[in-house]
Symmetry: C2
Subunit: 631 residues, 2 copies
């Protein structure tokens, strides 16, 4: 193949999946000339698996992406067919928004947004090689021999990296949904010295809507009360005419079918090399691991408004197709179901994430970033969350600025990246609320408070978004201040109201804010006793309420974060020589050398590194005793 | 691969391109349980090349498909972004409707129509083998080992059949736009004894709309006057807010770039085996073949309403990518153009069409039909036109009925199929008006008059369509009858009007119909002199006008058709033994044996078969002298 110079960009992003879309948009919006290259322009922001965005932890990531000026939130708000707030009965830390997407619309809108973005060129091509000179990335080469130069490169190759589709004993080379896989880029990464792992994920069959008997299932309608992912979306645009999902269950027969055919499941025949996700198991996994469970939930989810394919959530499988057919038809409501797409597993290459910095730059090659499924995660939101960070940092690198590092206390994105980089992952990593130690700080409702200012500093969020945020912030502060000063008298009406709410009557006057702390009382009910001139917007109220009600917990969490801050701020020099430091245990040394933590805080989270090791390290770093640091 | 029984259908269609979509819909609508299997459900009715439907001859095919109860006309009427009637200054025989499609919408709507169709299952899978028993097709086997039984099978595999993409010296196995190719089905066809040919076609690069300077091009807006492809669409639904196309030209520099790089063009380096279409040449072909032409037209066509890709019509090429880039930028308006997709050629397998009957059934395997690009044609409309015929005949075969054979005088579809089957084709076959000897009969405006009744007899058109047609037909007949009786007096107003139109004044009273025959006079102007109670619909008026104005020509053409009818009706027995017939020249014998014509008329069109041979053959067939026919 003849090579030729085809152009030069500040940032090149490889792969227009969920990670790549955010990465490219972020870099372009930060003023970098950017190219987004992908194998198939008809698969931009394609959802190969579930037609939904959000849910616990993941939904918060979408808000964080939005607060940073990303696209996923706005895109799903334009293209959902159903929306639900989950866990509304529980505390604000676990409330989560989830939307069913119109799959085709979602992809289509994202592609168009990318196409219209200034500074951004979207291009169909297969990147086969990175140009690396003196340990620094300088560009990419495509399958047509085109050489594109760049200041920074972000790889988000997803499950296409030497992808292999597996169905029973059928195995063939393919990206998701029979698309072209990417072969040579993986080989090139190996040549460059990267360690790759093999992971796998799976998807359930899709069935034809008209072949389902919905009367045997339970309807799951969307919420009537407006919600949205993007801080810029408006309540009045909330979709009235939503589509329902439907709940059914596996039957005893389903379990029997699977048990009878386990010997034909790729996970047992040894065909699968890749490691699957524990938290997103196939149905055959579930039957084996939870053998005492009599049935499993299955949600029947429409894939779009003008689309008769139905996604069978919970039935991910790589069993042979005949077993899949029998299995489907053993489920109440699907006795006569027709299968439109067969479920399958896909195995693919992953860049082991300990090879990354917290900025998502690779340690091996300067200005080369990786994000998304490539880094060992699973899920659209996880991918997009890394994508925006990688895009931001690629842009900052080109601009000669310090990277943006999200801390664990800044957001789920920070938790995820720190987990990946500091602990690595032996299986596809998914975000769970349990992964975050500051859950109460990392709420759905306050992502803008956590991140929008930060993003403004690096020049990503628009003026419009920043203004919207400032207005909200000021309104919240003003109202909290007012409620903290407003004393309510034990009037007859108030006492009657409290009795009605089964809340203790007042003995004396009380500050509005203090009364609001009672769990059984709501802002919207109490406000009649201290009306504001004009009714406040819903999101301001929500914020005021959470900040007042949970003030104690929030304060405690914030104190913990503060304490850690000192450790976060203690940076470890890049050229530290752990071997030369006495007093650190051997296992700790090995792991410190492998991970190369950037701060003492990060070091303390590395497995096998004990508090004693940290104390020794602290002395070296803080007291300038780094005489033994290598050149 | 374990095989298993996966289901049984009346008709199975392989490939959901333009041919397959029509075939499957037709069979299902005729009451057959039908399965449409395709490699990628995201590419149903995908347009890999130009984003447009219609044009000379092709536009008439769309009307014919519609008149038969097919989908292409309705689908484009729902999804176009621009529509134009071409050749309005010329006679009705060459007038042609052409629409720019919203590419994604077009595909999406067709998929949804298929999904909603009763009796029809759309399924993603790769068919690898046909089940043939005793020379009769019995079903298909997919890549997952699924065995589906069927009474008839239609193959419409398009350019995916052992597809190879070629760009400069880059060659790789692929279906259109980097999709999975179909390999094993071709091998299976060879095993079954079919002769395959290699053809090729090509597509131009796509450029980014915002990188084009439209001020250097000429705008080509759509028509204001309503038109539509489907006889069921309504004038009031005509799109007001159409998008423009833009006309530019190659420059002397463009030609120089190509000439300088001809040695790198696949057509000259010998990389291409496949035969390309003479009537749809690549730009490098054009520069070589028309070396005296100083410039070539290029149309810049938007690919959709929410899509920034622009199709460069006229610039189809498989030159190396660097040459494509230079080439694009040598064109006025595209000096700074950014390329989003690279142009390429694709090479693929074709079933040589002399192996087919006029029903599109293969001669080799009973109840096996082929249609579309697989039969050696090029173009969406050509594919769809064959698709509907193959689908109809697959259904009729299953129902034990006689096939529907469209004659050359019935429509362009008849011309095309007869050309393919009777003459074969050495290159991708495209419909041109010049291929039809009864051009004046095969008009855009009368496709329903030609075909809707025929389709009703086989049970395909809906009651709604048939009623609409009958109403129109009766209105036309009534109005013609009225105009043939209505005598106009030479009133002052009429004389004045005639003078104004530069038409000779009347000497005496004249029949309205006779006056209308004057070329300079239009129905809509004359009708004030003999008003109808209620204004007639536009399509009725059009029909009345054409039938009256061109009555003489139409009659002559119809007489020719009638004469031929006798020959069309003389069927040649399937088991005729040409070797045993004395008096037929040797070359004629060879070709008759190869083509196995079904009627004397078809025999007379076979190359190398002379009138003398036909006379001999006629005697044998008509006078019952077929004693020498083999068992
Ligand atoms: C079968 C399947 C099942 C899944 N199941 C689940 C699930 O149950 N739950 C869940 O949360 N997630 C699931 N996922 C994962 C989810 O799809 C991904 O997490 C998400 O799409 C990752 O986004 P990404 O941007 O990292 O990668 P992708 O969305 O895979 O995007 C990568 C893009 O890069 C392109 N690309 C790759 N290599 C190159 C190259 N060399 N040159 C140019 N372009 C290239 C690809 O064509 C693709 O467009 C599943 C994925 C698949 C395929
Ligand atoms: C690069 C390119 C350039 C072209 N240029 C032009 C042009 O300039 N002018 C023009 O008029 N036409 C052009 N065409 C041709 C036009 O696209 C086709 O004529 C038209 O799409 C043919 O329709 P079809 O239904 O026969 O095949 P296709 O549209 O190709 O559809 C075939 C379908 O069958 C599926 N399939 C194949 N094998 C199997 C299998 N074994 N199992 C299951 N499914 C299978 C495929 O996935 C595909 O969806 C071009 C095509 C290509 C690819």
């Amino acid at each position: 193949m003849n090579r030729f110079e085809a152009g030069s960009f500040d940032v090149i992003v490889v792969g227009a999946g969920h990670a790549g879309s955010e990465a490219a948009l972020a870099a372009a919006r930060m003023g970098c000339s950017t190219m987004l290259v992908t194998i198939d322009l008809n698969m931009v922001a394609f959802m190969p698996c579930n037609p939904s965005i959000g849910g616990p932890a993941k939904g918060v990531v979408v808000r964080e992406i939005d607060a940073l000026g990303g696209e996923m939130g706005r895109n799903i708000d334009k293209t959902y067919i159903q929306m639900r707030m989950l866990n509304t009965g529980k505390g604000p830390a676990v409330q989560a928004l989830r939307a069913q997407a119109d799959k085709d619309d979602y992809a289509h809108h994202m592609k168009h947004t990318i196409e219209k973005q200034e500074n951004l060129l979207l291009k169909q091509a297969i990147v086969e090689e990175l140009i690396v000179e003196d340990g620094e990335v300088k560009g990419v080469v495509t399958h047509t021999g085109a050489v594109y130069r760049a200041g920074a490169v972000v790889i988000t190759a997803g499950t296409s990296s030497r992808g292999k589709i597996i169905i029973g004993d059928l195995v063939y080379s393919s990206g998701p949904n029979n698309s072209q896989p990417s072969i040579k880029l993986s080989e090139n990464l190996l040549d460059l010295g990267f360690e790759l792992a093999r992971f796998k994920t799976g998807t359930p069959p899709r069935v034809m809507a008209s072949s389902i008997d919905y009367s045997k299932t339970e309807e799951q309608p969307g919420d009537v009360e407006p919600n949205h992912f993007s801080f810029l979306s408006k309540d009045e645009d909330y979709l009235k005419d939503q589509l329902s999902c439907w709940l059914t269950y596996t039957s005893p027969e389903s379990h029997e079918i699977i048990r009878d055919n386990l010997h034909r499941a790729p996970m047992f025949t040894g065909i699968v090399e890749g490691v699957g996700a524990r938290y997103c198991p196939s149905i055959e996994d579930k039957i084996v691991r939870f053998s005492d469970k009599p049935r499993h939930q299955l949600f029947l989810e429409p894939e779009g408004r003008e689309n008769e394919e139905v996604y069978v959530q919970g039935l991910s499988t790589s069993l042979p197709e005949d077993v899949q057919l029998d299995l489907i038809r053993s489920v109440p409501g699907m006795e006569n179901a027709q299968m439109m797409r067969t479920g399958y597993a896909i195995e693919y290459d992953v860049v082991k994430p300990h090879q990354l910095r917290l900025s998502l730059e690779t340690k091996l090659v300067k200005n080369l970033f990786t994000a998304g499924q490539t880094n060992g995660t699973s899920g659209y939101e996880e991918a997009a969350g890394q994508g925006i960070v990688a895009g931001i940092n690629a842009a900052l690198a080109v601009q000669g600025k310090e990277p943006l590092i999200l801390k664990r206390s800044d957001g789920y994105i920070g938790v995820m990246i720190d987990d990946l980089v500091t602990k690595g992952t032996m299986e596809p990593y998914r975000l769970l609320t349990s992964r975050a130690e500051y859950r109460l700080l990392l709420r759905h409702d306050n992502a803008d408070f956590r991140l929008t200012e930060m993003s403004r500093e690096i020049g990503l969020v628009t003026e419009e978004r920043y203004e919207t945020f400032l207005e909200k912030k000021q309104a919240v502060e003003k109202e909290i201040a007012r409620l903290e000063k407003t004393r309510l008298k034990p009037t007859e009406e108030l006492q009657a109201f409290l009795t009605e709410q089964k809340s203790a009557p007042l003995k004396d006057g009380i500050l509005f804010a203090d009364l609001l702390k009672r769990p059984e009382l709501k802002y919207e009910d109490l406000i009649v006793f201290a009306p504001f001139e004009v009714a406040l917007p819903k999101d301001v109220i929500k914020q005021v309420e959470v900040q007042i009600k949970y003030a104690g917990y929030i304060k405690k969490a914030a104190e913990k974060v503060d304490k850690l801050k000192k450790m976060e701020e203690k940076r470890i020099p890049a050229n530290i020589d752990y071997d030369a430091i006495n007093g650190i245990a051997n296992e700790a040394k090995q792991n410190l050398k492998k991970i190369q933590p950037e701060t003492i805080a990060q070091a303390s989270r590395i497995s096998g590194v004990n508090p004693a090791d940290i104390s020794v390290l602290m002395v070296y770093v803080t007291q300038g005793k780094i005489a033994k640091i290598a050149e």
